[in-house]
Symmetry: C2
Subunit: 394 residues, 2 copies
């Protein structure tokens, strides 16, 4: 008599969580230092000192009733103003506080945004490889998730294929760049093509197709790579942001939804987002961390450490003969499995205490994801295991 759908979702752990739990069990057996766990995207670099300093200042300010009290549902006015100013300055978008809705992180941002717009029969397009929970979120909102496969060589968007997938039922398209799980940053020319298709199809079908930019990894890019800010390329854009990765605060659940002020129905869209937040039980984003964000708006964790890890693992594995997509951002390396079945490969990896995640759930069979947000020494120590693993295929 319970919801069978919810029961199934609760029982079928994600493959990532499964491997993570195996790792904890195995660590208890042979010692954590002998396990090379690359399964979870949990930041390994601490929050910048500004964060704990902001918490200290706020709690010592004396007005704890206001500090821990309800904010209005879309967030504290000053916090929304600070976020809007930050976006306006950094990306040249004329956005104001009334387009910012503070949320409990990226998952909340996505669920609220989808719930605000989806009606029965709608489809939402995601580009593989994609974060597996997109399917859960889209279906919970009542939509069908349609997957657009990438170019096999560089995992950029195959815009010709994408064009064939857009139908009158397409309500929204989700872009995640820098990408989890591939680390790929979509090039500006790719973004322009996607947006041109969306413009043409919106025009053809006589209704907007929304572009949802899921960008928790926006600040995590290496070298001189630039991540195009989608509001500057497409009118009907909604940014779903989280401070989980840039400020290493994944457990605190703090982020925002930013509705492009150029959206053709910006006011209605914002109202629907407010309604969806209410319907899903999000009363307000965590109050203390809203204020922490306002105080730390220009801070990030020490991203150079991830850059070093990126080089160490990418160079190490390619030298061993692995075929890897070079990541420009995020903290994931996507590696071609030396055998077609990535599950079988991951099982073999376990024999060498390497915990990798098969790409199948991300919509890319034949790949594995390596989360390199780990201690640098773990990467170094894991290399002999990676050498032994690929030795099986030589």
């Amino acid at each position: 008599m319970l919801s069978q759908e919810m029961m199934k979702l609760g029982k079928v752990r994600s493959v990532i969580r499964d491997i993570f739990e195996y790792g904890k069990k195995r660590a208890a057996e042979i010692g954590a230092e002998n396990i090379f766990d690359f399964s979870l995207g949990n930041p390994s670099i601490p929050a910048p000192p500004e964060v704990d300093l902001a918490i200290k200042e706020l709690t010592e300010s004396g007005n704890t009733v206001a500090l821990h009290g309800y904010t209005s549902a879309p967030g504290d006015p000053l916090v929304r103003q600070t976020v809007a100013n930050h976006i306006a300055t950094k990306f040249g978008v004329p956005i104001t506080a009334d387009s910012i809705y503070m949320t409990a992180g990226a998952a909340a941002s996505l669920c609220i945004t989808l719930k605000a717009m989806v009606v029965v029969g709608d489809e939402v397009i995601a580009f593989a490889p994609f974060f597996p929970e997109y399917k859960v979120f889209a279906e919970a909102a009542g939509a069908k998730l349609v997957v657009s496969k990438p170019f096999p060589t560089d995992l950029q968007i195959d815009t010709d294929l994408f064009q064939t997938l857009v139908t009158p039922a397409t309500k929204a398209v989700i872009i995640n760049s820098p990408n989890n799980p591939s680390g790929v940053v979509y090039r500006e020319d790719t973004i322009k093509k996607v947006c041109a298709i969306l413009c043409a199809k919106s025009e053809e079908y006589g209704h907007p197709i929304y572009l949802i930019s899921d960008e928790p990894y926006r600040e995590l890019v290496y070298g001189d790579v630039r991540v195009p800010y989608l509001m500057n390329y497409y009118q009907n854009t909604i940014v779903c942001y989280s401070y989980s990765k840039a400020l290493s605060l994944p457990g605190e659940r703090i982020g925002y939804i930013a509705v492009s002020p150029q959206s053709e129905d910006a006011k209605d869209l914002f109202a629907a987002i407010a309604g969806a937040g209410r319907a899903l039980g999000y009363v307000c984003a965590p109050a203390l961390f809203q204020k922490v964000i306002a105080k730390c708006i220009d801070a990030t964790s020490d991203i150079r450490a991830y850059a070093k890890n990126r080089d160490a693992i990418y160079n190490g594995l390619t030298a061993l003969g692995y075929n890897c997509i070079k990541p420009d951002g995020a903290f994931y390396l996507f590696v071609k499995s030396p055998e077609p079945d990535a599950y079988a490969f991951c099982e073999k990896a376990k024999k060498f205490e390497l915990l990798l995640v098969p790409g199948d759930d991300f919509g890319c069979p034949g790949y594995v994801r390596i989360a390199y947000c780990v201690n640098p020494s773990l990467i170094q120590r894991s290399m002999p295991s990676f050498a032994n693993l690929i030795g099986l295929y030589k």
Copy 2:
């Protein structure tokens, strides 16, 4: 092309919020000290000192990666253990950590619980007067909210009426005691009757009817009043708790769902709750405040201040000739409107700068709610206005 339902929810502000916004506007016009705002249930007593002390200790502990990192979806194991031990000790229920699911507050607890169990065609019963968002939450989960009217004299549950409302479509019943908006605590004999009806009907229909106890005001009771702990009266009970009121942390969004270990399908129910949490975008409850809760499990705000307010406003208004339900808990006074139309009465109250909330949205027309979680001096200073207001009806 947006969800019309969500847009409507976002645009139609709750009547409480409307009055609150009016109050802010009016305060700007004539000065905040001249407004008697009784509209919002925002705790006026600060969090106990244990809370900020716990925050300080945790942030100074040095391990900020773990502190601000993801916890597992149902919560940090030690926090769940602490909550379970607290319930077991305080209420004599043999509950363990694996029945506790940490959430982002009571609204999240309710939305997740309803989503876990509701299937198409289900009904959920609430007892008037009830928190208006129950309707939003039940409908978002796909159920119809059925309202059981109270006895008009004391606003206790009319169990004869309730019995006629339970049908094979009834999936769950929500009890909120101490009650928002009436301050009533349901008596033990009432609870026993409700539970007997639920037992008989579950038996008759061959499936469990769940009892959802929404109890954010559990600790806010006055005198020697005892709030029956529902798990001790009914097998298929789910407790939705929030620390918003007891610890004055409404903005921090921290609470839990506790599934009775005696539930006939406890494991499946817990799995469905985990699945629903995932589907609604709740990754984990805010991490820092999970750990704060564990450190402050026995603390509460200084509830005596609310007891003093209760006496001041109840005695003051009854002396003036108002007809009030004497509250045993929470921080609300429910007052009979001297004219049948509570909206009209509230409009007249505004002329004396008194901001009251009509009971209609709570399912009790003809009443108004006064939230007395305010500065004691506000109650005192408001009395001449209340005198003038009732003078209109003499």
